[in-house]
């Protein structure tokens, strides 16, 4: 799991999430993402193009972050999640509370 890359503008902060998020990598993921979302930008975009695996452990953290962001008047957006991850977001209803966008330029 690697989510080192971040680029930001005043409108949006972009965070790239890579690799696998599961019970093993979740601690590091939570720690690093919590630090990175400390931003004034109204939109936090999680680039999931290179996120190969995520299960309920990762989704739990995403929902917590979304709820925190909402309190701060910010919005979390997932960009380019892979079909396997999109399916999980759909069956759990998480796609109703976190926006999902496709950016064709960024798709592999």
């Amino acid at each position: 799991m690697d989510n080192k890359n971040r680029t930001g503008t005043e409108q949006a902060t972009m965070i790239s999430i890579k690799g696998e998020i599961d019970i093993y990598s979740i601690g590091k993921f939570r720690e690093s993402i919590e630090e990175k979302i400390e931003t004034q930008a109204p939109q936090i975009i999680l680039d999931c193009t290179e996120l190969s695996y995520m299960d309920s452990t990762g989704m739990g953290v995403l929902i917590e972050l979304r709820n925190k962001a909402k309190e701060m008047g910010q919005k979390i957006i997932m960009m380019n999640p892979r079909p396997n991850i999109k399916k999980l977001l759909n069956i759990t209803g998480v796609d109703k509370i976190i926006d999902i966008i496709e950016n064709p330029i960024n798709q592999s």
Binding site: D22, I23, G60, N67, N84
Partner: protein, 138 residues
């Protein structure tokens, strides 16, 4: 019918090993890419539950695959933890502060059949079955 038994350490770093082995077994059986992804998630969720909720005093838990050629893959995760009552698991609240309970919900959504046997103080055994579909789904 072939049977594979793995004894995994009760440590988070080995859950990925469960995903690797199920992907290998399911690929060999001819499951679609989408089904293999679903199987990886299901086994991972069951192992995660065994680690997070069972309070298993043992240093290991078991994962058994039963391969029924051209028919179905059945797999069971067994811990020797505190056990639980499956009917008491509440559906996750997406607006809650702490989000739990997704694991079983996801497993039931992805698998064709799920059987849970749990005894207080003795442990939990969850058996999941995925039928080999003949459709060419990706």
């Amino acid at each position: 019918m072939d049977r594979i038994r793995l004894t995994l350490p009760t440590k988070p770093e080995y859950v990925s090993l469960a995903r690797l082995t199920i992907a290998s077994v399911a690929n060999n059986m001819g499951f679609s890419i989408g089904d293999v992804e679903d199987l990886k998630v299901a086994v991972s969720e069951a192992c995660t539950n065994a680690l997070n909720h069972s309070m298993n005093p043992d240093s290991t838990y078991d994962l058994i695959y039963t391969v029924e050629e051209n028919e179905k893959l059945s797999f069971t995760v067994t811990d020797r933890g505190v056990g639980f009552e499956p009917e008491t698991v509440v559906e996750p609240d997406l607006n809650g502060k702490k989000v739990n309970g997704f694991g079983l919900f996801i497993i039931k959504s992805l698998m064709d059949r799920v059987d849970i046997v749990s005894e207080k103080g003795a442990g939990t055994s969850i058996t999941m079955i995925k039928n080999l579909s003949t459709a060419n789904e990706i």
